[in-house]
C-alpha cells in the first residue's frame, strides 16, 4: 500500500467519524433543549407559591421525560452501541443534567434518593454497559451532586416560604448523601471536583437548620425530623 493510499484510507475513516459526531451533536442539542424545559418547570418550586404545586410540577416533568425517552432512542441509532465511550463526551453533560432532573423529581415526590436503576428507567436507558446505551455510574453520581446543591437552595427558599420543617428533612438527606460519597475513593477527576463542592451545600443547609433552631422555629419538628 502506498503512502498516498494509506492516507486516503485514514482520511476516509476520519470524515466518517466526523459525520457520526455531527449527527450526535444534532440530537444532543435537542436533548439539551428538553432538559432545559424540564428544569424550567422544576425551578418554579423555589417560588413561594410553588411549594403547594410540587406534585403537579412533578407530573408535568414526568410527561416531559417521555420526550426525553424518544430523543434518547433517536440518539441510540446514531452510532454503534459498542462505541459508547468513543462519543461519550458529546452527551456526558446533558446526561448528567438529566440524571439530576430525574433525581430531583424523585426527591420532590418521595424525598428519597433515586436509585441508578430508577434514573436509567426514567431516561429510557440501561444500567449496565453490556445491555446497550447506559447510564455511567460517574454520570449518575454527578447528577446526584448537582441535586445536592439544588436542595441547599431549596432549603433556603422553603424557609422564606414559611416551610420550616423541610430544611430539617433536607439536612438529614444531604448528610446521608455526604456519608455515602465519603465511601467512594475518587480520583482527581471532574467527579471529585464536583464532590468537593458538596461540603459547601452541607454547610449551607446546616446554617439554615441552625438559624431555625436558635429561634425555636424548628422545635416541634426537631423530634420528628431526627427520628
Amino acid at each position: 500500500m502506498s503512502v498516498t493510499e494509506m492516507f486516503s484510507y485514514i482520511q476516509g475513516f476520519l470524515s466518517a467519524d466526523q459525520d457520526v459526531r455531527e449527527e450526535i451533536r444534532k440530537v444532543v442539542q435537542v436533548l439539551e433543549q428538553t432538559a432545559r424545559e424540564i428544569l424550567t418547570v422544576l425551578q418554579s418550586v423555589h417560588q413561594p407559591s410553588g411549594f403547594k404545586e410540587i406534585p403537579s410540577k412533578c407530573t408535568k416533568a414526568r410527561e416531559l421525560f417521555c420526550t426525553v425517552r424518544t430523543q434518547v432512542a433517536d440518539l441510540k441509532t446514531k452510532f454503534p452501541v459498542e462505541q459508547y465511550y468513543r462519543f461519550h463526551e458529546h452527551w456526558r453533560f446533558v446526561l448528567q443534567r438529566l440524571a439530576f432532573l430525574a433525581a430531583f423529581v424523585v426527591y420532590l415526590e418521595s424525598e428519597t434518593l433515586v436509585t441508578r436503576e430508577e434514573a436509567a428507567q426514567i431516561l429510557g436507558i440501561e444500567v449496565v454497559r453490556e445491555k446497550g446505551f447506559h447510564l455511567d455510574v460517574e454520570d449518575y453520581l454527578a447528577g446526584v451532586l448537582i441535586m445536592a446543591s439544588e436542595l441547599s437552595r431549596l432549603a433556603v427558599n422553603s424557609v422564606t416560604a414559611g416551610d420550616y420543617s423541610r430544611p430539617l428533612r433536607i439536612s438529614n438527606f444531604i448528610n446521608e448523601l455526604d456519608s455515602g460519597f465519603r465511601l467512594l475513593n475518587l480520583k482527581n477527576d471532574p467527579l471529585r471536583k464536583r464532590y468537593d463542592g458538596l461540603k459547601y451545600d452541607v454547610k449551607k443547609i446546616e446554617e439554615v437548620v441552625y438559624d431555625l433552631s436558635i429561634r425555636g422555629l424548628a422545635k416541634e419538628m426537631d423530634t420528628v425530623g431526627d427520628k
Binding site: 500500500m1 502506498s2 503512502v3 498516498t4 494509506m6 492516507f7 486516503s8 484510507y9 485514514i10 482520511q11 475513516f13 476520519l14 470524515s15 466526523q18 459498542e82 462505541q83 459508547y84 465511550y85 468513543r86 461519550h88 428519597t112 434518593l113 436509585t115 441508578r116 454497559r129 455510574v137 460517574e138 453520581l141 448528610n175 446521608e176 448523601l177 455526604d178 456519608s179 455515602g180 460519597f181 465511601l183 467512594l184 475513593n185 475518587l186 480520583k187 452541607v202 454547610k203 446546616e206 446554617e207
Partner: protein, 281 residues
C-alpha cells in the same frame, strides 16, 4: 473561624452517629457501597493499563535507539533482527493490554494506553521503513497484534477441547493512534537522515527526503479534519522536512563542486574518523 470549627465538629459528630446506625439500614449507604466497588474496579484497571503502557513506551523507545545504530554499522540485518526480538517483547505487553480490555469498551480506557501504542507504532514503522523503504499500513500493524490465550481452568476440565479453550485476542490500533505514531516517525527519519549524512551515505538522505515529502503530503491532505493533536504535530513535521531538504540541498551543491570520486573519498575518510568513536560508545 471559631464558628466554622464548631460547625465542622458538630457535623463530624452527627455523621459518625449517622454512619453508625445508617451502615446497616440505609439503602443510600448500601447503594454507595456498590458504587465504591464499581469505581474501584474501574480505577484499578485504568492504573494497570497505564503501567503496561509505560512499559510499552520504554521498550519502544529503546528499540528506536537501537535502530538508529543502523546507519553506523556495516551489517544492518543483525540490528533489524535484534529489533524484531525487542518488538516481540513489546507485543507481548500489548497482549496484556488486550487481555485487560477483554469484554470492555476499548474507548473507555483509551487514554490510559494511547501514549504506549503511539510509541509502538513509531518503533514498528521505523523498523519497517529501514527494512522495506515503505510505510507500514495500519492493517499490517493490526495483523501482528493477534494473541492466543489458553484458558487454564478449561484446560484442566476437558482435554479434548484445547482448540476451543485457546482464545484469540486481538488489539486494534485506532487510525488516530496510527496517524500520531507516523507523525512521530518523521522525527526519527530526520535524525536518521542527518546521521547518515555524517556517515557519508549519499543515497539515504535523498530517499528519506522523498519519503518524508510523501508523508507530509499525506498529512496536508488530512489537514485539520483529524484529531487536534495532528495539527500540532504537523508543525514539527514541517520542521523535520525542512531540515532533511536542507541536508539534501547541501549534498547536491557540495556534490557538484567536488568531483564524484573525490566526494566519496571525503566521506569515506570521515567515516573512518567517526567509526572508532562510535565503537567506544
Amino acid at each position: 473561624m471559631n464558628r466554622r470549627d464548631g460547625d465542622g465538629g458538630s457535623r463530624r459528630n452527627h455523621d459518625t452517629v449517622q454512619d453508625h446506625d445508617a451502615s446497616q439500614t440505609s439503602p443510600v449507604i448500601a447503594a454507595f457501597k456498590v458504587f465504591q466497588q464499581e469505581l474501584d474496579t474501574k480505577h484499578d484497571k485504568y492504573e494497570r493499563l497505564v503501567k503496561i503502557s509505560r512499559d510499552v513506551t520504554i521498550e519502544s523507545k529503546r528499540t528506536i535507539f537501537l535502530l538508529h545504530r543502523v546507519t553506523s554499522v556495516p551489517d544492518a540485518e543483525d540490528i533489524l533482527n535484534e529489533a524484531d526480538v525487542k518488538l516481540d517483547g513489546v507485543r507481548q505487553k500489548i497482549g496484556l493490554i488486550a487481555e485487560e480490555l477483554r469484554g470492555e469498551d476499548i474507548h473507555q480506557f483509551h487514554r490510559a494506553f494511547t501514549p504506549g501504542i503511539q510509541e509502538y507504532v513509531e518503533a514498528v514503522s521505523f523498523q519497517h521503513y529501514i527494512r522495506h523503504h515503505s510505510l507500514i499500513s495500519l492493517e499490517e500493524i493490526n495483523a501482528r497484534l493477534v494473541f492466543m490465550r489458553t484458558e487454564t481452568h478449561e484446560h484442566k476440565g476437558s482435554c479434548e477441547a484445547p482448540p476451543l479453550s485457546a482464545q484469540v485476542l486481538t488489539f486494534q490500533v485506532t487510525p488516530s493512534d496510527y496517524l500520531l505514531g507516523v507523525a512521530d516517525l518523521t522525527g526519527e527519519l530526520m535524525r536518521m537522515c542527518i546521521s547518515s549524512v555524517g556517515n557519508g551515505d549519499i543515497d539515504t538522505p535523498f530517499r528519506l527526503s522523498q519519503f518524508l515529502r510523501q508523508i507530509h503530503d499525506g498529512f496536508s491532505y488530512i489537514g485539520n479534519t483529524g484529531p487536534y493533536e495532528v495539527s500540532k504535530k504537523l508543525h514539527t513535521l514541517r520542521q523535520s522536512l525542512g531540515k532533511v531538504e536542507d541536508a539534501c540541498y547541501t549534498l547536491r551543491v557540495r556534490g557538484s563542486e567536488i568531483p564524484k570520486h573525490m566526494l566519496a573519498d571525503v566521506f569515506s575518510s570521515r567515516t573512518t574518523l567517526i567509526d572508532p568513536d562510535e565503537g567506544v560508545v
